[in-house]
Structure formats: structure tokens, C-alpha cells
């Protein structure tokens, strides 16, 4: 059984999604246990694979027994074992936290919400484990298409936001597919390890350069890197709360993982950082993404929209850290993939819960929120501190590595942008805390304050949320272990 974990991580959610789609006609109420069981099993398998990688190093799974490069191989190494374990946990915690909201919000359509949720997770987990470039495209589209449908479940304007996401996402995926086509043209292979062995011999070819640029551009669109981020704020702010707290942590972070995978393990680091001087331009683009995301977040008056722009800035962190091409910055970027997934889960869960309990997510409705929803706001404080970068939350540590890497590389632009963004995040979150704690409650009743209605979320929603907040601190405390035992072996020796 344990041999099949890499395949089971993907197959179980897919099968469960099919079962749920059938159950929709017979026993709609059984859908939730099936979904939770499938995700729990996937998360368990991901954790077991992490343990195995820690003990015995990387291993591969050959689908159907066909050895690569002919067959599709799922390759588990230090990098994806770490990301997969965290992403699977994020998906499971989110489902446990949002199902009461989802059942109220989607009513009889909840069954389809669960089915799409599982398909989305299956695609994401598949992207993380696969060692085949074309298989990655297919799984990417499984994730994207179920993501479009999930976002379309939102409020009235969600359909247009989702359709715009379809357009941008399809251009991105098509460019990735085209880039892979060019690589196939010159290497005759689709297996990533096989391509990596062939590419150094032909890396002066212009086809390889074109393939690299086209592939990366497609991924930049999918990960919402400024200035290709246009789809993200609308799609995420119009999506329903339960959908948003799934898609926001997983989508952009998975795409950054793919960028790391392609940049380090398909193309060699020498090619990625040495050829074309592309790396320098990319770091500056990341600086612009951070500054733009932070400034635009400052201008928002809606909690969810503000966080969408924080996500745009966070994408800049990881892209900047990756393209600096040094060991410290790369460590920071990979650590931030994991940390940012956990932090984004936490903040979007809080915002979804506030939106559900208080029926709005503008700043005005937050007045008195600390008294109305003390526990939810406590989670918000932890997540906010982590996004600002206060120890011992995990956000501090990845930012520390990123900042250290930027300073060591002498890149003052990126270092400045990181500090600037931390300061802006301080402003953003302390403004929220101030409104929620100190501002007088305006009930619109000619100044006669109505008694505050206690509006805390039920324990079933609170418990997973608090677990997620604890996770931020646990991840922070485990930073040393994660860096030395997982991230250090994942970075190729060629990186200085």
C-alpha cells in the first residue's frame, strides 16, 4: 500500500469526487463524510511520504509500471514532499472549517461544491507530485477548470470575474503548453528528469531559449505576477468565502512551485540564472509587484479586496527570492511558498467567517468585532502578525531569509521593497485591529448604540481556524528543521 502513496494522493480525491457526484442523486447528506475522508487520507499519505523522504531520500512511482521516460513518473523529493504535506493539510483544514458555511450558502448545490473542491485538490496535489511536463499541464487544467467553476458559484458579479479568469488562465496554460511543445521538439521527451539530462547539451539553441521564455510567461500569468495579475483581485473578491480560502492559498503558491521546479530541475540553474540576463529583470519585476501590491492594498476599503492585493505583493516576494539565484534567497522563497500558503489560509478563513457572520466585509462592519467575535479576531491577529513578519510566527522566518539573501546579493531594490511591504502590512493590519477594537460601533440609529450582538462562529468552524493559527506558530518554530532537512537538500549544489 505504502508504495502507491504518490498515486493515491491524486486518485483518492478524484474517485471521491466521482462518488460524490453520484451520491448527489441518492444521499446528498453523505457527501461531506466522503470528502473529508478522501482529503484526510490524501493528507495522511502526503505526511507519510514526507516521513519517507526524510528517512530514505527521494523516490519515484511509475504509473502503470511503465518506467520513464516512456511512462509517466511521479517523483517525490524534498521539495515537493514539503509543499505537498502543507498543501494537503491546508485543503483538509479549510474543508473542516468551511463546510457549515458552504451548506448554508450553496443549499442543494453544496454536493457539487464538494465534488469541485476535491477535483481542485486532486489537480493541485498532482501538479506537486508529477515528474512529467505534459501531465503537469493536464493537472493544471483540472485545477483551473474546477477553480473557474468554484469561483462562478459566488455572488452575482462572480460570473464575469470568473470568465475573465478563464481568459487569462487559458492564455497562461496555452503558453505553458506551447513552451513544452518547443522543448519536446528539441529533446524528444516529456519527462522532466530526462529533459534535464538532454538540455545542457543543446542549451545554446534558440528554440530552448524561446521555450524557456514562453513557459515562464505562461506560469507568470497563472501565478498573477504583476503586471499579469489583473484576474486575481476580482476573481478572489467575488468568490464565495469557502471557495476563496481554498483557492487563494493553493493556486498562486502551486504555480510558484512549478516555476521553481522548471527553473531548477528541467532547465539547469546555470541556464535559468545565467542566460539572457533575464534574472535581473525578473527581480525588478518582483520589486514592482511588491510595491504595487502593497500600495494598492492600502487604498482598499474592503477587507477581502485588500487581502487580494496583499497576495499580489506576496507573489512578488517569492518570485524575487527565486530569481536572485542565491542559496539564502532561494531558501527564503521555498520556505515562503509553504508559509504563505498557511498564512493565506488563515486570513481568508477569518475574512470568510467575518463575511458569513456579519454579512459584509467592508471595514465599517468590523467596528466592535473584537467583542463580537473574540476568537475569530484572535486568529486574525496571529495571521496579521505573521504577514507583517513578527517572530515566532512563520512569516518572520521566510522574510528573514529573503531579506538576508537580498542584502547578501547586494540587491538593495528587493531589500527595500521587502522592508517597505512589511511596513505597509503593519499599517494595513493595525488599521484593522484599531477599527475592530477602538472605533465606536455605528448602528446607524442616530447615535443610540444598540447592544452589541455576540456573533462568534460556532465551534465547528472555530476549531479548524484556531488549528490553522497554531500551525503558523508551529511552522515558525520548526523553521530550523524545515530548512536544514528539507529545503537545503532540495536546492541544487550548483547554486552558490
Amino acid at each position: 500500500m505504502s508504495v502507491h502513496y504518490p498515486a493515491l494522493v491524486v486518485v483518492m480525491p478524484v474517485v471521491a469526487a466521482l462518488i460524490i457526484a453520484i451520491l448527489a442523486w441518492v444521499h446528498p447528506s453523505r457527501a461531506l463524510p466522503v470528502a473529508v475522508a478522501a482529503l484526510a487520507a490524501a493528507a495522511g499519505a502526503a505526511a507519510m511520504m514526507l516521513v519517507r523522504v526524510l528517512a530514505h531520500g527521494p523516490f519515484a512511482y511509475h504509473l502503470g509500471g511503465w518506467p520513464p521516460p516512456v511512462g509517466i513518473a511521479y517523483e517525490i523529493d524534498h521539495l515537493n514532499a514539503l509543499v505537498l504535506a502543507v498543501m494537503a493539510a491546508v485543503a483538509l483544514i479549510n474543508l473542516l472549517a468551511v463546510w457549515p458555511q458552504a451548506e448554508q450558502r450553496f443549499a442543494e448545490r453544496t454536493v457539487f461544491f464538494y465534488a469541485l473542491y476535491l477535483l481542485f485538490c486532486a489537480g493541485t496535489f498532482g501538479i506537486l507530485v508529477t515528474g512529467d511536463a505534459f501531465n503537469l499541464f493536464v493537472l493544471l487544467e483540472i485545477t483551473s477548470i474546477s477553480g473557474y467553476a468554484l469561483i462562478g458559484l459566488g455572488r452575482r458579479d462572480a460570473a464575469l470575474a470568473s470568465l475573465n479568469y478563464v481568459f487569462m488562465g487559458t492564455i497562461g496554460a496555452s503558453l505553458y503548453l506551447l513552451g513544452i511543445g518547443y522543448l519536446y521538439l528539441v529533446t524528444g521527451s516529456l519527462n522532466m528528469a530526462d529533459m534535464a539530462a538532454i538540455l545542457p547539451r543543446i542549451q545554446d539553441s534558440r528554440v530552448v531559449t524561446a521555450a524557456f521564455i514562453i513557459c515562464m510567461t505562461g506560469l507568470f500569468m497563472k501565478m498573477a505576477l504583476f503586471p499579469l495579475h489583473g484576474w486575481l483581485p476580482n476573481a478572489y473578491s467575488q468568490a464565495a468565502g469557502p471557495v476563496c480560502s481554498l483557492i487563494a492559498p493553493l493556486t498562486t503558491k502551486t504555480m510558484i512551485y512549478v516555476m521553481v521546479r522548471i527553473g531548477l530541475y528541467v532547465f539547469s540553474p546555470q541556464f535559468t540564472f545565467g542566460r539572457l540576463d533575464l534574472a535581473r529583470a525578473m527581480v525588478w519585476l518582483a520589486v514592482m509587484a511588491i510595491v504595487f501590491g502593497s500600495l494598492t492594498a492600502l487604498a482598499q476599503t474592503n477587507l477581502r479586496r485588500m487581502l487580494c492585493y496583499v497576495v499580489v505583493a506576496e507573489v512578488g516576494y517569492m518570485v524575487g527570492g527565486f530569481w536572485l539565484g542565491t542559496r539564502t534567497a532561494m531558501t527564503g522563497a521555498i520556505l515562503h511558498i509553504v508559509n504563505d500558503a498557511a498564512m493565506t489560509l488563515c486570513v481568508f478563513l477569518v475574512v470568510g467567517t467575518i463575511g458569513h457572520q456579519l454579512k459584509s466585509d467592508t471595514f465599517d462592519t468590523l467596528r466592535g468585532a473584537f467583542r463580537r467575535m473574540p476568537w475569530t479576531m484572535a486568529v486574525m491577529v496571529v495571521a496579521g502578525l505573521s504577514l507583517i513578519g513578527v517572530p515566532p510566527t512563520c512569516g518572520f522566518f521566510s522574510k528573514w531569509y529573503l531579506l538576508g539573501g537580498a542584502l547578501a546579493a547586494g540587491h538593495w531594490g528587493l531589500a527595500g521593497a521587502l522592508v517597505f511591504s512589511s511596513l505597509v502590512n503593519t499599517l494595513l493590519f493595525f488599521r484593522i485591529f484599531e477599527i475592530a477594537y477602538f472605533e465606536p460601533v455605528n448602528t446607524g440609529n442616530y447615535g443610540h448604540a444598540a447592544p452589541l450582538r455576540y456573533a462568534e462562529a460556532p465551534p465547528a468552524m472555530l476549531a479548524p481556524m484556531i488549528a490553522a493559527a497554531m500551525g503558523l506558530i508551529v511552522l515558525g518554530l520548526l523553521t530550523g528543521e524545515i530548512v536544514t532537512r528539507l529545503i537545503a537538500p532540495a536546492i541544487p549544489a550548483a547554486i552558490p
Partner: protein, 131 residues
């Protein structure tokens, strides 16, 4: 010079065709204001890439990739005499992906039309601003 250009255009006709198709698709998605036209543009873009893949499979003078005489005691397979079947198989999957994307896009467009009564982007944005 003109001769060189024509020779290049003819020799690499498949690439020219896919690039032109891709540009038509992108043009439709970026410039057109009607959502259904944008969806058509998206489909043209995807089809362009499918054609690119299929075109790179062909070889001069090659035949169908069906092996009739496989087994011990027969001649080894001459890959040069058969077109490469792999891109076709990959594109079967890509076609399925394109169909699924098209389905979701059309479903969303139907919902927009039901809710707002129009598919013109400028009218939709004007309506959303009014609220």
C-alpha cells in the same frame, strides 16, 4: 531577398500558420467587446497550439504509425518510416481540456446573460458601476 522569404515561408508553413492563428485568437480575446467573441478567440488560440503539435509529428515520406509485423523474427521497426504518434495522443487530451474550458466559459456566459441581459463587456461594466 523576396525568394528567400518565400522559401522560408513555404518551408516553415506550419509554424507560420499556427502563429497567425494564435495572433487571431489573442486579438479576439483582447480587442473584442462581446464575451462570446472572446470565447471564440480563446478557442482559436487553443486550436492553434493543437495544430502546432500535430504538425511537428509529420515526417517527409512517412506513413501511418501502425506496426503490422511486430514480434520475434521480423525486421526491426524503422521509426523514420512512421510519423510520430505521440503528439497526436497528447493533443487528444488537450482537445478534451479545450472542450471542458469551452463548456465552463459558455456556462458562465449564459449565467451572465441571464443575470444582466447582455454579453457586451462595456455595458456589463457600466451596469456594475451603477450599483
Amino acid at each position: 531577398m523576396w525568394d528567400d522569404f518565400v522559401r522560408l515561408a513555404v518551408a516553415k508553413a506550419n509554424y507560420w500558420i499556427y502563429i497567425v492563428l494564435m495572433c487571431i485568437g489573442l486579438w479576439g480575446m483582447i480587442v473584442k467587446g462581446n464575451l462570446v467573441k472572446k470565447i471564440i478567440g480563446m478557442n482559436i488560440l487553443q486550436t492553434a497550439i493543437i495544430l502546432f503539435y500535430v504538425s511537428i509529428a509529420s515526417k517527409a515520406g512517412a506513413t501511418l504509425p501502425i506496426i503490422t509485423h511486430h514480434g520475434p523474427g521480423t525486421d526491426s521497426i524503422q521509426a523514420v518510416g512512421h510519423i510520430n504518434p505521440l503528439p497526436h495522443v497528447l493533443m487528444l487530451t488537450a482537445i478534451v481540456v479545450a472542450v471542458a474550458t469551452l463548456g465552463v466559459a459558455l456556462a458562465l456566459a449564459m449565467r451572465i446573460h441571464r443575470d444582466y441581459g447582455t454579453l457586451e463587456e462595456d455595458e456589463l461594466l457600466a451596469m456594475m458601476r451603477e450599483k
